[in-house]
Amino acid sequence: MPDADATQFTSDQVRHLASLVRIELTESEVEEFRSELASILSHIDALSEIDTEGVPPTNNGADLLNVEDEDAAQPPMPLEEALANAPQREADYFRVHAVLDQS
């Protein structure tokens, strides 16, 4: 398992992960999570010792395959209901900060 020595889990790795999942962290949070994640990973790393040669993965709690439904249109959620919980709304849209840089 790569980087199996969990004590090597670094603050930079935490910052990188936080940027991937879009969570702003304070510097003290970075250190706390580094230490906690290193500890958790040290327990989890026992998994790497299990021989799984030729074992297929299980990716679903049930054993269902190729579930198909009739391809029929359903009435959509009414606009007002869909927008009712929006943090910010303008007319019939969700309002957000400009996505594209206009400069």
């Binding site: 790569p2 935490v14 991937l20 702003e24 906690e36 958790i40 993965p57 269902l64 919980n85």
Partner: protein
Amino acid sequence: MTADADSEMLSITLAEGARRLRAGEITSRRLTEAFLDRIAATDDEVHAFVTVTSEAALAEADEADALLASGDAQAPLTGLPVAIKDVLMTKGVRTTAGSRMLDSLIPPYDATAVGLLRDAGAISVGKTNMDEFAMGSSTEHSAWFPTSNPWDLERVPGGSSGGSAAAVAAQQCIASLGSDTGGSIRQPASFCGVVGLKPTYGRVSRYGLIAFASSLDQIGPFTRTVEDAALLLQAIAGPDPLDSTCYHEPAPDFSAQLERGLDGLKVAAPREFFGEGMDDDVAAPIVAALDLMSAHGAVIDRSPSMPSVPMALPVYYILAPSECSANLARFDGVKYGYGARGGESMWSDMEATRKHGFGREVKRRILLGAYALSAGYYDAYYLQAQKVRTLIRREFDRVFAEHDVIVAPTAPTVAFKRGAITDPYQMYLNDIFTIPANIAGLPAISIPGGFGADGMPVGLQFVGQRLQEADLLGVANAYERLADWPTTPPVTAANVGST
């Protein structure tokens, strides 16, 4: 009505309540008022509820009484008050999942299980507290407040469905719904001395269940008796076109095997569930339970070994955080819930939204999941965990080839004091005996199995075969009748608070 009659009503079961409502001995209005009064008298101490819906409950009770009076009450749970974990969408009723992220969410639709419960005639008295996004084992990680254990208010009720378990134990409702991803129904049922059932994965639709780990999450009931668990499961189980992971088979009669008894029952007590990690005060009542079952005709086999079962916890702490990091990506501050504004860009608004909206436990798991899924680590962590998941499923299959049911403790300890566990991994160890059933997708139930240290309840867990809940409930019902443990806390501040 006298105080005695009131307190007798509070300990009623779904089965008995349905009978007495139909016989005209009580009304739904009176029953519902009794539970709402009980909530008002005790919830300042128990803190089981995030939202209490008194007005709607009483209106529904009056409708139920009208149906009952006209003799036209077809629905099996007509007029019976229940509570719903705050992770299930309830149309028009605030649904927070225990998170600031959903502080003000008013869902436009009901979860399928909630809709089915309404169709069955049940009345919701409110939404119960939980660890944020169902991540936790103590209900201390709710963004709102911690819930107390009605048996000892200094202790936790377990989690993540701690509010649903505490509400049933404190007699604030007859039954409730919870969700179980790694033990979040069974462990709080064990801590609070009530019955908690996790059905087979795919038995109950997950539509409208705010997702934590989609390959593991399952909705199920908290009740006072096994018979009630069968009734409540009957109401919520079945196929749903809105959940493609839901089995297509119609639900069978879950009460069909309640009278089966223990004679000749082949019970496996695998070594890995009775070794390391279990406190002595939990082991003693569990061993006594096995002896009692043996004395009544069950054949207890302590020889089976399931060597991969100790790996279930590491597997879980790869799979669940990985799935949660993907599921919780939807909370972006745009469409619903909390949304920070005023940053320099869309990205800074999103990062601020998730900084303030999520609590520590949720952030830790999202980061852990992102790590396990990231380039270079996917094969070593996520894929390896999925393969070991297969090994664990195969070991269950092997045991079930020769046995009818597996017995185990539900949790390694009795309920602990609030604030007693601060290390994340120590907290995760609460679920070592419950997680294997989630990993394998199997039905499992925790029922009262005696008392451990300081008179706190100990849960006895049975794990059944895929889609064989009726058999599982039959075994649990047989033990419940033999043991006849009390499911109501004797003297607690919560009881003293009511008059």
